[in-house]
Subunit: 455 residues, 2 copies
């Protein structure tokens, strides 16, 4: 059950593959631990994903340098003073053996002329890299002007389609996430705070030597898409939306959402909506295979959702015309999913370069502007499939809403407001045939959930 | 049991007190949430402590401006697009009412001429503040050149001695820490990983709506002072060192260490050392009162430790001469404690300005160079008292060690290596009489620990 690490050869192979595509030298920085409230109190160090992909270890202030046929890691040699506070660190020789990679003291690093790099995600790490490379480095997302960044494209070429070791890491993360959600379900009870469930979920991750890949969402206010506090008292009629995923030791993410009734039983309208969202997800997963365009999956899921809600009488009218009027996006305002890998939104630091195929850009259309992924799927991509249904007060008023109001059963509309938010999300490995759901072990159907919650 | 917030008047009073000491305008920034591995994936926002002290809420990208007799908070008005993802935020009017403070849109902010500020702790927040103030702002600790920073001295004047509301917040944090340590003791068992205990401890904090104030240390390798991973399997003969404290919703820290036997029973040498450390701590707490110089407490605790170890035959010789030869600092290499408040090392962002009284500076002496606090104690200061005993392999060799080796019983020395690390730390409120131990509810004596672990 305890997570394992990838073999050294896996990283050697990844580095080798990058080397063969490079036309000039490149340097990837691991970054610096983020300061919490003063310099001496930092969040646990999490290396930059591009660095982790090729090294697999969170080594602070290290530089991975690809130059000609040679790959060298430049790192700080152990400092005896540091050992008092942080324990003995391996010597650079030991590090070299355990990584299967040439390791040199960072003081020997000289930036190769004309070397490429990728922006670290925070400013302090960017300033440090700037100093190392002796040239300006901007932190944050690659901006539109950099869409021709060759190194970014080369790295995307590798990271978009996962090798067996990456998939194994994501499977391990999903397995821990399964234990975490199960612990969350067991901890749910009427009258307790959301934080009780969140504690159980995150404890299951910590116990397994992992960390949350992102700030967990554990809330009865599921209509708030990124609700990051868990202070509410859970009431009998509430649905609890839990979006929480573990990150493996090497940095690989899982990202799973379940929505379950606090009381253990869905009521009538909750059951109707839940089943519609689940159906939309099942349709999308069933059609998720190599060659399919992800945007089309998004549309099919949206259509399945509206159709299911017409069938149970929540919506009235012709499905095509309802979709055209934008009814779907009133209740399902985000995208169907995104890439998953070392980042929970994989390579989002490269803007839309990874998520959008060359030549494709975000649609200004309200139904698709939040879609983070528009590529034709390939075997061994991993994506999330996460349709949802949300009664967001701000969206259930105003001109745009009035134009679709007549399509909603007025009695149901009142009930809908009590549903708040439902989302169902799994991590899906694309193949040329049936997709493999990495998070399949987590209860999902109403009957499965009610059985687990009944215990 | 659920934590409470301080009344609005408490912050008004703090602001009023600062106003009366200011000789020129000042602006305090709340800062920006730290990026984790890409812009969209940030650690939960934790405002700068100087800002929190006067506002009590984690409001991102806000500016608290003291100008003349007027205090104004400048904040971002709610953005409807933001509401979709993050839920409705209070309007500036509502915020103003709930804070008892004038609140204006940030777009109206104009930095008062010649306004003072304090450096935010991270670079991104500093760059943001720089833009707001239209002048250079450096992140991080105040450097030595800024010891005459008047605003820092004024803020230290307030934050050094706590009001009843600050003490109440720290008491609540200590109460949650007590539950957390109890949960950790219950979770301890031979053959499990340290992470199981850490999970139980942090879950107790999360459950209570709090967060860890710093990265928890939960390890059998207690000799590594800041051991931040918890991946070892706990063995029957191990001592588990747990240094973990909760932070209240308003940002107030607790900081507590206990060391307990994984098997539930201390062995002979462990018991001897444990009792010596505990005695040293008790001596320091007993003498911890207003008027006492903290450095003297540090010395008395070090002396008590050596003396106790002479009495049980671990050390041989005259206590004074052993201390002179530096035996204490071989096994107790850090300081006795530090200020506690909104930061776990309170105001360490101001360098030694807060910890060291005017005119006092760090000693170069190896026995005192790591001492973070050298002030004469005043009523309502809160400090940690945390003596320890560590067998650090790097310190048990080399020339310096050889000069004291003859003072250690050779048979005991072998046993000592198995003890690894013991630290006992409490949060102590200074009064003019007996100190109040905020973390007194946590089992500490050997018999208390063995009783709890026996269950």
């Amino acid at each position: 059950m305890w997570p394992t690490q990838s073999p050294v050869e896996c990283f050697a192979r990844r580095r080798e593959r990058l080397l063969t595509t490079l036309t000039r030298p490149c340097v990837l920085g691991s970054g610096i631990a983020r300061v919490r409230n003063f310099e001496g109190n930092r969040f646990p160090f999490r290396a930059e994903s591009h660095f982790l992909y090729f090294v697999g270890r969170h080594i602070e202030e290290a530089l991975l340098c690809f130059d000609g046929a040679r790959v060298t890691l430049f790192a700080e040699p152990p400092d005896p003073d540091h050992a008092l506070w942080h324990g003995p660190s391996p010597s650079l020789e030991q590090l070299s053996i355990s990584l299967g990679l040439e390791v040199r003291p960072r003081s020997e690093f000289v930036a190769p002329a004309d070397c490429a790099t990728l922006p670290p995600s925070d400013v302090e790490s960017a300033l440090w890299l700037e100093e190392m490379l002796e040239r300006p480095v901007e932190a944050g997302n690659l901006s539109a002007v950099e869409v021709d960044n060759e190194l970014a494209q080369q790295v995307i070429g590798l990271r978009l389609v996962h090798d067996e070791f990456a998939i194994e890491q994501m499977q391990q993360a999903a397995n821990v996430t399964a234990r975490a959600h199960a612990a969350g379900m067991r901890a749910t009870r009427v009258g307790a705070r959301e934080s009780l469930v969140r504690a159980a979920i995150e404890a299951a991750m910590t116990e397994s030597g992992m960390t949350p890949a992102y700030t967990s969402i554990v809330t009865v206010a599921g209509e708030v898409l990124h609700h990051n506090t868990s202070l509410n008292v859970m009431q009998a009629g509430d649905l609890l939306l839990v979006d929480a995923g573990a990150e493996s030791v090497e940095g690989w993410a899982s990202d799973v959402t379940r929505t379950w009734p606090v009381s253990g039983r869905f009521n009538g309208i909750q059951a109707e909506i839940y089943d519609a969202v689940l159906l939309a997800q099942q349709v999308a997963i069933a059609e998720c295979r190599a060659g399919v365009r992800f945007r089309d999956l998004h549309r099919r899921a949206g259509r399945a959702l509206v159709q299911a809600l017409v069938e149970v009488g929540v919506f009235k009218g012709n499905v095509d015309s309802l979709l055209e009027r934008g009814l779907g996006s009133v209740f399902f305002p985000h995208g169907l999913g995104h890439l998953l890998g070392l980042d929970v939104h994989d390579m989002e630091d490269l803007g839309d370069l990874a998520g959008y195929a060359p030549g494709r850009t975000r649609s200004p259309d309200v139904q698709e502007r939040y879609l983070r992924l528009d590529r034709d799927l390939e075997p061994n991509m991993v994506v999330t499939i996460e349709p949802g249904f949300y009664c967001i007060p701000e969206r259930l008023k105003g001109e745009r809403f009035e134009s679709v109001r007549s399509a909603i059963d007025p009695q149901k509309l009142e009930l809908l407001r009590q549903v708040r938010g439902i989302r169902i999300e799994d991590d899906v490995l694309v193949t040329s045939g049936e997709a493999r759901v990495l998070s399949a072990a987590i209860p999902k159907s109403r009957s499965e959930l009610e059985t687990v919650l009944d215990v």
